[in-house]
Symmetry: C2
Subunit: 404 residues, 2 copies
């Protein structure tokens, strides 16, 4: 880590100029009255705002409405309303109208233009937002806004669905003798796939940027973090990562900003995988000696995405053939006779397929809580890492009755 980079508490609440609040709005019928389900984020100053959103062809209404807001005034964003319990996806014209009404409601409560408010939702697909509750919730949240980590932790809780823990990360870095912060909150859990997932992440910094620099920095950071994790290979209709920064025409990303942003996105991505639905173990798959970065990425993602690798991991079964079968399945250019495998830094399978660990040694290695598999392709010098989790009966239990 860069010498001047310091991890700090508070997530997005650690960023100067950011206030957050969370309330129980009662969005999901039957949910506990303690379940926070609506979060509000307010920026003291207009923010340049950039996004990385789902590539699913079915995009939820909040994504579409936020996209229009950014297209119309990317440098003027002041607030974000996020809710759990209802995805407002597959809700047609009504969904669009409800998302727009949410921005107007926040605008009234905060005395800012509706065009400066964006929205995000997560939860069950196909149900309409309960607008009376949303509006009451937004009003209550507007009165509870506060800076700092305690409020941000509540906001992180409010966007949780099947997540078990709130996810926050923040780093402080130096530039030209001044101290800046990057901080974020996120939710993950299920429907997490390479190329975006059922995930929301809201990240802010007080380092001034122009829109292009912000977009580039976010793209770079998500490519190696949110886009390299998998819980179940399913891709959501609602995924969105938003990065907010004070606007500075021509402001470029410093090395410190880029590194801090990479750390925050990495931390939040790993937190999502660790807290994947039913997850009991963390899998880190690194592909090295690759002909290209993209090849390494595709193969690393295929490994963490394989149900068979994930069940073997769950059972502590050192079934390396499944790793190789997964790696070969995506048409990325694996060459048999050239690859070798390591597990937790130990040579595992040599070029040609010879096992180098005893069954007991391999079983001990794959039975650890955190398992690192390195696949050397023998094709070049590029590399990439993906993160995933085991597939456990808990995943099925959670998802067999999610809606009912």
């Amino acid at each position: 880590m860069h010498a001047s980079l310091t991890p700090i508490e508070g997530g997005i609440g650690a960023v100067p100029g950011v206030k957050t609040a969370a309330v129980h709005a009662g969005i999901r019928e039957g949910a506990s009255a303690e379940k926070l389900d609506l979060a509000l984020i307010l920026f003291d100053q207009p923010q340049v705002t950039v996004a990385a959103i789902t590539t699913n062809e079915i995009k939820a209404a909040p994504l579409l409405v936020s996209d229009r807001r950014l297209a119309a005034g990317r440098t003027a964003i002041r607030a974000l309303v996020a809710n759990s319990g209802c995805a407002n996806a597959c809700t047609g014209e009504r969904g669009i109208a409800d998302a727009e009404a949410t921005t107007r409601c926040a605008a009234r409560a905060l005395a800012i233009p509706a065009e400066t408010v964006i929205v995000a939702s997560t939860g069950v697909i196909g149900l309409p937002l309960p607008m009376t509750r949303i509006e009451a919730g937004v009003d209550a949240a507007a009165k509870a806004l506060a800076p700092g980590g305690a409020a941000a932790t509540r906001a992180a809780r409010a966007i949780m669905t099947t997540d078990l823990v709130p996810k926050l990360s923040a780093y402080r870095f130096q530039h030209d003798g001044r101290s800046y912060t990057v901080g974020g909150i996120a939710k993950g859990s299920g429907m997490i796939a390479p190329s975006m997932a059922t995930m929301l992440a809201f990240i802010a910094t007080d380092f001034p940027l122009d829109a292009r620099a912000a977009q580039d920095a976010l793209a770079l950071a998500t490519a190696d973090s949110f886009n390299m994790i998998s819980v179940d290979g399913d891709m959501s209709t609602n995924d969105a990562v938003y990065l907010f920064a004070p606007h500075a025409e021509g402001g470029i990303a410093s090395a410190g900003l880029r590194e801090a942003l990479e750390r925050v996105t990495h931390d939040l991505a790993i937190a999502m995988v660790r807290d994947g639905e039913g997850a009991t173990k963390l899998l880190t798959a690194t592909v090295t000696e690759s002909a290209s970065r993209e090849q390494a990425r595709r193969i690393a993602r295929a490994i963490v995405d394989s149900n068979l690798v994930r069940t073997a991991l769950h059972g502590g079964d050192p079934n390396w053939g499944r790793v190789i079968a997964a790696a070969g399945s995506v048409g990325a250019g694996m060459r048999d006779g050239a690859w070798s495998l390591e597990i937790n830094g130990l040579p595992w399978v040599a070029i040609g397929g010879q096992e180098l660990l005893t069954e007991a040694e391999a079983h001990a290695a794959i039975s650890k809580q955190s398992v690192e598999i390195t696949l050397r392709l023998g094709l070049g010098s590029e590399q990439a890492t993906a993160w995933g989790c085991d597939l456990s009966p808990g995943y099925i239990e959670i998802n067999a009755h999610y809606r009912t």
Copy 2:
């Protein structure tokens, strides 16, 4: 079904000129002595033989050796040796030598050239074939060859891994006043994915064909059967479908042959999905009103391949949003606002997202043993169907300790 098409018993054993045998060779350490694990198929006459094999970049040794045999003499094949318990994949030069030795051993036992023997394996990846046992098994099988369904059922059992039931299908059809047969055996269970799966299928007919006609007929039949099923989205190193027929220069496929072959591949594919690892329910996903056949295929496969759709199916949770999210995730051109859904023939979700069934009605529909979901895209007039199964704790139980 065509009037002249008759389902019959016996699988590949129902085809005139085909003999099969199966023995317990003891290929997998610790397996029960009753577990048949080596199958032999002998054809009275040389067969034109065509294949559809895995697209995995890591191909097992038996695939490579069989491929060479077919390239050298596609119209002269006399026998196939298949084993379960060991995939002979990722076994390097030794694996190739072992697969070739297996063909020589069968050649000696059957008094035919080694060049006319092909091989197939399924089981654990990365372990070498126990050649002494393979050779003894081939010798014993050669003495037990018999026509008919009883022997073929034993052969179907010998290629089973985690399959619970043997899979056979045969149909009789008429052409020019003569009766012909198409019959096959197969194994499936896990590592089953669109674009081939951990599956083996051996299909024979006594209808004479040339190589081109046989290849075309097999490609057509697999496109709508084996390539449209999914158990877990994992793609094996060993998948192979072989079609054997008497060779006739210029012999083209009759309508009856094509239809019988489609029925056999369909039956075997559905049998694989019904017997998928841990499967308790059958899911049939049909995509209609598609702009192209390929679009319909991709979206139908995405639905049956989704872990979230499969867990909802397992739990009887009518979570249609997951069906739509899966359909939109593969970049096949879904258009929101144009689609609608049916379940078991009942209108389920209207264009625009309105639910047409009560929660109780939808729950009852998705709780059936066999669930049919129809997604109308509203984009054209093409259609395709894919088959899958639910994701249950049984799948995890089976796969968490497959190797150890």
